[in-house]
């Protein structure tokens, strides 16, 4: 016997199907949220661990930087760049030590190889960060050296203009370096 569904039945079917789809979608988005939170909590914990392990070195770097800036406020950008670079080195050192610890523990099991590989990828990303930091530092050094050249040459109008341009470039470069460092200082943790 052949049966036909009434229009009302079809609407009910449709609504049921849509409700299921929407429920599924909501569940999926919930999973996404949880995963995102889990990642962020993981990052927070790594940051906490870093401050626990390297707090003393970090504090020394910070204090030195502030003291240097107070003694010579005109060179604040240079000191900030230097301080941020030193802090970044501490991050790198910490990551290397954590990696070594993990490798040591995990080498005992074969399945850990996968995790170590993940850590290596993190380290590679961190190296890329450090390389970018080096480039910024080199750029900063170059700009500073060129700036000094202008200071020693006689102050004709054209040189003065060039000197001003250089000062602007120098300021921008320092700003870029400092911003880059501070924005990503703990980002590779």
């Amino acid at each position: 016997m052949k049966s036909y569904k009434s229009s009302l039945d079809q609407v009910v079917d449709y609504l049921e199907q849509r409700t299921n789809e929407m429920r599924q979608r909501r569940l999926e988005s919930k999973e996404q949220t949880l995963e995102e939170i889990a990642t962020n909590v993981g990052d927070l914990f790594r940051g906490f661990n870093f401050f626990k392990e390297k707090g003393a070195s970090l504090k020394t770097i910070g204090k030195e930087t502030i003291n240097n800036i107070l003694k010579n406020p005109g060179s604040w950008e240079d000191f900030l760049t230097q301080g941020a670079a030193n802090a970044q080195k501490t991050v790198a050192e910490h990551m290397r030590e954590e990696l070594e610890k993990k490798a040591e523990i995990k080498s005992k099991t074969v399945k850990s190889l996968l995790n170590v590989e993940e850590e290596e990828q993190r380290l590679a990303a961190m190296r890329a960060n450090l390389e970018a930091a080096e480039v910024l530092l080199q750029d900063r050094k170059r700009v500073l050296t060129e700036g000094q050249k202008f200071d020693t040459i006689d102050n004709t109008e054209s040189l003065k203009n060039k000197g001003e341009q250089m000062a602007t470039h120098r300021r921008e470069s320092g700003q870029r370096a400092a911003e880059g460092f501070f924005a990503n200082l703990f980002g590779s943790l």
Partner: protein, 100 residues
């Protein structure tokens, strides 16, 4: 039964006041995560909120860590103030930091 809304509010407040989260630039994304978290999550997932609370409170309760965090936040303030005005004074920014 655990009141998830109360718990979220408490942790939200902690995140807002946390210098550690501020320095790590983590406030916004942690708060966004909390806001997006459905109120009917199960107990296993509530562990995530507990973890945030534990980490933030531990950082607050560690005086050494707080001091280091304050120093770096001062440096950030020095940077933003001097970027806006290269001749801006910064001495007052160091008052709350023990430099000895």
């Amino acid at each position: 039964m655990i009141n998830i809304i109360d718990k979220k509010n408490r942790v939200r407040e902690l995140i807002n006041q946390s210098l550690f989260c501020k320095l790590l630039n983590a406030q916004k994304k942690l708060l966004r995560g909390l806001d997006n978290l459905p109120d009917e999550i199960d107990e296993r997932d509530i562990g995530l909120i507990d973890a945030i609370q534990m980490i933030v409170e531990s950082s607050e309760n560690d005086p050494e860590m707080q001091e280091t965090i304050k120093i770096f936040l001062r440096l950030e303030e020095i940077k933003s103030r001097r970027t806006a005005d290269p001749k801006a004074t910064i001495d007052d920014l160091t008052d709350q930091v023990n430099l000895s």
